[in-house]
Every structure is written in structure tokens, then in C-alpha cells.
Symmetry: C2
Subunit: 191 residues, 2 copies
Amino acid sequence: MKALEEKILKEGTVLPGNILKVASFLNHKLDVDFIMEMGKEIARIFADEKITKILTVETSGIAIAMGAAAAMHVPVVFAKKHKSGNLSGQMYKTVVHSYTHGVDYTIVVSCEFLDENDKILIVDDFLANGKALNGLIDIVGQAGATVVGCSCAIEKGFQGGGDALREQGIRVESLAIVEQMSDDSLTFRSM
Amino acid sequence: MKALEEKILKEGTVLPGNILKVASFLNHKLDVDFIMEMGKEIARIFADEKITKILTVETSGIAIAMGAAAAMHVPVVFAKKHKSGNLSGQMYKTVVHSYTHGVDYTIVVSCEFLDENDKILIVDDFLANGKALNGLIDIVGQAGATVVGCSCAIEKGFQGGGDALREQGIRVESLAIVEQMSDDSLTFRSM
């Protein structure tokens, strides 16, 4: 998505540890009009699939998942990172490693919100080594539901998570794929 | 908002500790079409104000804030609960007590995303004792910006936070106000 690549070049900054900071429109301040456009693009890409729900993980996946869900008129289920006082009953659980924060955490989804009839599109803001997506795919599998595909706003192609999923036969459609980045340069994969 | 009251009666459940669980449409699974309608209602209520940004707090405020922002065509800034590896630079900070989880936590907003020219609408999913809104109001004050008002999806009127803010002269518009709730009954304030 050309507009996203331009926005990353204009507003993104590269921090130590291969972190691409896009807090000005996707992670902290949300450029909602732009996120709704990204959502429409995801809906266009997956228009031929009969998706029943979008699955994401809190926190920063929620905005882009909302954008896609608004365009597709399906609900979002977001996996929670902590067992909340508000969560009760049976849950699907898996452990995910956070690249950004360097820790393992458990994500959970209430069993009542995913079942074997669901055709799930997994949406997230970033795709780096694919740990979060693998965790969400695991949860979809626990529910007996089907993963139709994954769509992330920004894939860090050089970290390999997206291509590893593609090699497993999973449809992964990222709106922009960063092939290389450093303090003073950033290039995208041709799509 | 009548449709919200009906949805709470149909899908909400009351848990011990005065917790109203609406995980099926607002907190865990998101009924995005319905949340977009709630957002339009918030935009209608505040149509005469020149709002520049919506401020909320992660996690569960993000969805309703996105809905309102999409209808108003303004950005969302969400306060973060933890100092993230992705946050750098100067930040506004304040301490908030979570009623649901029974703990204090620090919320932060990067100084680059709020300034003295901003007219802020604060949006959240729940308003109970008002601790989260007071924290967000504090952050708006630190930025020298103006609080135009607060809008929450569900106010628990019997916990008094909304009325205390109204007594301070702050415009608080909740889409549904629960006046009383127990295992087997739930009544709303007339609006």
C-alpha cells in the first residue's frame, strides 16, 4: 500500500534493536482516517473469503483490526495478555514471546468467542519474527476454527516471520514490507 | 442510547464486585458495527465542539474511541499503562487506580502528541468512580490543552464518578447510565 510506505518514510523512526517507531499514526497516536483506509485495503484483499471474525491481540493490534472489521462488517476478538478480573470461564491459552519487550507472556481468548465454524482473519499492526501470529494461529487451532489468512500493517521482512508462515502455506498479506532499515535508510519489498 | 441499553440487558452479566461484564461486544469480542454506531452518537452529541483529538486509555477504551474518531475525523491518542520499549522522549504521567483490578498503575502520554492548542474529548468504555477519567483530565492539564468533555459508553451511575465530574463543571455524556444492578435486575437512569 503505497500510502502506507510513504507514511512510514515520512513519520517512522528507527530505534536501536530493529524497532520501527510509528507511534505518530499506529501505536500511540492513531491516525484514524488513515487506519480506516488501511482497513478497507485489507477488506479488498480478502474480499473473496467468507471471513466470520477478525482475531488480533491487545493493545496495538486493536486499531487496525477495528479498521478492517468496520470495512468487512464482522466482529473483532482480541486476545488478552493478562488474566483479567473481567474474564471468566474456559479460555484458549498460549505463550508468546515479545520481541519489543523481550519477555514471554500468556495470551488468552474466551472459548465462547471462537468456534469450529469460524473463518478467521488474523490482523496485527506489526509482523516481525511471527511469534504473535503463531500464538494467534495456535489459538484458532485450539478452537477448531480455520485461519483464512493473516494481514499486518507493517511486516519487517528481514526478520523472516512472514516468509516462514508463507512457507507453511498460510496466506500472509502485509500492507507494507520493510526489507531493510537503518538509522538513515529504509527500503520496501516490491509487491 | 436505547440500542445500547437493550444490548446491555441482552448480553451483559453482573459479576461479583459490581462488575458489569460486556465482553461479548465491548471488552473482548468487539461488535464493530455497533461500536461504530456508538461512535456516531458521540460525534452527534459533541457536533458543536471543535474537537481536535480524542484521548483514551489502553486497552478497552481504544475501540469506542476509534468509533468516535472515525465519525469525527480526528486522531485518537491513547494513554499507555506501562513504559514501553517503544516510548521515548518526554511524557505526561499520572497514577490511576483500577477499580476492576484493584491496583494502582501509571499511565503515560508522549508530550509530542498533546499540546496547548488541543481541544480534547476524553472517551472510555466504562465510567465507574471516575479514576481513569480524572487521570486523563490530569494529563490534558499537564499539556495545557482543553477538556471539551468526556463520553463513556457505560456509566455506573451508582458509583458516583460521573456525577462528581459534572459537579466540577465537566461535560460528561455517557451513552447509557446504569443506576442500579444486581444478579437479577439492572435499571438505567432516564436521559
